[in-house]
Amino acid sequence: MTCIFLCATCTIRAQSSALRQADSLFRQGAYFEASVGYERVLFEDNNPETALHAITQKIQCLKQQGLFTQAVNFIRTNLHENLPDSTGYRLYYEQTLCTYLAGNYENALSVVEQAKLLYPTRSEEPRLKLLQLLSLNELQRWEEAGHVYNAFVGRYGVADTALSPYKHLPHLKSKDKAQWLSTFIPGAGQIYAGKPLEALVTIGMQGAGIWFGIVSFQQHYYLAAWLAGAGLFGSFHMGGVRRSEVLVEQYNRKKITQFNEQVKSAVLKMMAERQ
């Protein structure tokens, strides 16, 4: 009896010390070591409360290390039906957040949608809606994002949708248009993409090719006119067309990021003010 008592006491002490040690490592910012510690707790401890604490903390460790995909997989393996609703939802939210942070926006949206079935009473929670909104933004599905935004601000009593950033969506430029412009007017694609200096360089290089071709032709250097002059012009021209497409892509990416950041900070500010 004494032995059993002593063994049980030692085991319980060892288990709680494992948790304490992991927590201490977490506080010190040793996230990898802490995550091993929390795994140890999960391995050794059968107490559901301790296990839940370890799971939650391990998720934080993975997030701190930027291992979002690993965090999603970890949550999936620990998210089961027997969990109480509140606990299950907490993990479910972490799963959605990590899916978003991992850059899997389509998946994040589908996880948000599944919440309607799995947690019908909580599926309209602001945190989930925020992730849905941000994911839609990243996917440039702004019309849907606008609806989610209006519903979201409505919950916070901001009824004036005229102030909605979705009224002023970023004006994106067309790659096709840039390509056509550059094809017919050298440098025009670059100007359209907002890079006038690059346009000047392109015009200069293509002009040099043409000039060399014409001068050579006038001096009866026909081969040089065609092969060097026209060849140079053709190469720079094709390069210019391709470059204009790249510039438009960069421009659009910048505008999208700016817009998404603007919405994100506005919504986060709103949430912080109302809480």
Partner: protein, 295 residues
């Protein structure tokens, strides 16, 4: 009275000492066993880095031989799974012959060494093994044959190939593959960089075409020939001292010589590409039967 008390006291101290030693050994055993189980649990969850962290922290000074073997095997296996092949070799080779997974450790250590291009060591590891099982003996022949192919030592390959039965469920497919690689490598005719250079000197781009880089050959031909045409025109109309001739002539020379040099190199590049493709296939096929046999 005193005489009878002293031995009793000694006996008690001796008994207490033995009891404490036994308790300490037992707790040491329990701690080690717990850590290994935890490492196994982490490996099962494919948390190899974490498993390595756990095994690396185990103090080896108090361990007996079996415990050390278990530890070396676990550390090596975790390192192998997390692609830390150097570490894996170091750990797996420390497993002693008495350990039940000794042969597995040796085979995987040898494979890691082969992958790290340390073939002489890998060969030594395999050749020093005492094997009783016929599949393992065939596996050794297969691994050594693969290494011989990687060295392009075809005679040695043929010797080891005699040990292939093509009947073992673990090795049949890979043995056939290895035989096909042998034929492929044997039939490869290496090309001469010198000839490639000569071809490109005669006809720009022809050397690359000869080396097997047909697109590059065409891509090299066009600018060199255009520059040659423009240079000739400049020479014909402006003479040797004209700025056009000097400018285009210099450009042509650079492109022409560059193309010859490029053709020489392209033979070597093509050969490297060819052998690398085979090496990857051989390494892949050396690995599969090991996983099949020991998993």
């Amino acid at each position: 009275m005193i005489r009878s008390v002293v031995p009793a006291c000694h006996r008690f101290i001796l008994l207490a000492f033995f009891f404490c030693s036994a308790l300490s050994a037992h707790s040491q055993q329990a701690l080690f066993s717990r850590e290994i189980k935890f490492a196994q649990y982490l490996q099962d969850k494919e948390l190899f880095r974490e498993a390595r962290y756990v095994t690396n922290r185990i103090d080896t000074t108090q361990l007996d031989r079996t415990q050390k073997d278990t530890l070396f095997y676990f550390s090596g296996w975790a390192a192998y799974n997390s692609k830390q092949l150097d570490t894996a070799v170091g750990k797996l080779l420390r497993v002693s012959p008495r350990f039940s997974l000794y042969n597995k450790s040796r085979f995987f250590a040898a494979y890691c060494l082969t992958y790290l291009a340390r073939q002489p060591e890998a060969q030594q590891v395999l050749q020093g093994q005492q094997l009783g099982d016929s599949t393992e003996i065939e596996m050794r022949a297969f691994q050594l044959a693969g290494m011989a192919l990687l060295r392009r030592d075809y005679n040695t390959f043929e010797q080891y190939q005699r040990g292939f039965t093509y009947g073992s469920y673990v090795l049949e497919k890979e043995e056939k593959n290895m035989a096909a690689y042998y034929k492929g490598l044997r039939s490869y005719k290496s090309k001469s960089p010198f000839l490639a250079g000569v071809y490109s000197a005669v006809l720009p781009g022809a050397g690359k075409f000869y080396a097997g880089k047909k697109r590059q050959g065409i891509a090299a031909f066009l600018p060199v020939i255009s520059l040659a045409a423009v240079t000739y025109e400049a020479y014909r109309k402006g003479g040797v001292r004209s700025a056009r001739f000097i400018g285009f002539g210099s450009l042509f020379s650079v492109f022409y010589i560059g193309n010859i040099w490029g053709s020489v190199l392209s033979v070597k590049v093509k050969e490297k590409e060819f052998y690398r493709a085979y090496d990857n296939k051989i390494l892949f096929d050396l690995h599969i039967p090991l996983r099949n046999l020991y998993n």
